[in-house]
Symmetry: C2
Subunit: 187 residues, 2 copies
């Protein structure tokens, strides 16, 4: 048995384009795309994390549209993906949810497009997650212009940035999260 | 020198959720995400292909916002990505654009989440693209519920579907295109 994988889409603390720490708004397609990628790559649960009650209500409403509302019969695969999404207020709640489900604290994995040392590579993390005694892992994805550096202190591992052909690696969180999951769990 | 890579985001002929052949509307984030992924992974040009003049005008307007409009100074990296996007009416125009630029017809690569035989695998296509005498490749991405099967007849290669952990592989085109580019060009 490989380690269980969890994902958190964080809206705070994230950076804006000037590098300031801000709270980003919920983007509907972020939730949909991450839920579908997560389901595809076997993520146990995805946490949409937002500190503002109104934004959490918005996230729950858009998910509810597909679970129990008019979207229910539109596309069953979308529903199947969104069934594994939980809306929470803080990263601490996400961590607690994993602990409650798995009985052990998850390894928190910080992701970013910016180079930080020391970082764990994709093959290395993939192997670690395949170990039979591996703790569950909680992948942290940042909206806005990425996770605030302060979160590194809370994380157990920093994942290396995705590299394309040069130093331009400005992927959307929808794209980057899919690529990261593919590198960790794809076949 | 590896082969030059091109991408086409097709809105017709694509499938709807019932498997009917339809024309899909342009989705703003599809254009943004694919442009950013394409720039990250060294795609020479991305073609947004739509048969309807109004939809092409919409696509050009949203791109123009970032090239010359208010978005220009908001985020230079987004502009850099969108500078490599062209809006065209047909796949034939996209193919002609590659031929004009490279002097040779591109290898057309059909992508789909559905299994089709014979299909080329990712490692195989990656190696082929690295050959010094390789023709340019034009990757075809479908909006809606994916490219219509009729396009297989026009393609030179069918790329194997992306696989996660089971038979659920319902990725958004934003996510799937990023994963495919990463598998073909990522490091």
């Amino acid at each position: 048995m490989a380690a269980e994988l969890f994902a958190a889409l964080l809206h705070h603390p994230v950076l804006d384009r000037h590098g300031r720490v801000v709270t980003a708004a919920v983007t509907s397609l972020d939730v949909h795309d991450l839920a579908r990628s997560a389901r595809t790559y076997g993520v146990t649960a995805t946490f949409v994390v937002h500190p503002t009650a109104q934004q959490r209500a918005f996230a729950r409403r858009l998910i509810g549209h597909w679970l129990d509302g008019p979207g229910r019969d539109f596309d069953g695969r979308r529903r199947e993906a969104l069934l594994r999404v939980e809306v929470l207020a803080t990263l601490a709640e996400a961590r607690a949810a994993v602990k409650k489900q798995c009985g052990v604290d998850p390894t928190l994995v910080f992701t970013s497009a910016r180079e930080r040392r020391p970082a764990v590579g994709y093959d290395d993390l993939r192997r670690r997650l395949q170990a039979s005694d591996a703790r569950p892992a909680l992948l942290l994805f940042g909206t806005g212009f990425g996770l605030a550096p302060a979160l590194v202190a809370e994380a157990d591992l920093v994942l290396a940035p995705l590299c394309g052909i040069d130093d331009y690696n400005h992927l959307s969180v929808r794209a980057a999260s899919a690529v990261i999951l593919d590198r960790l769990r794809g076949h």
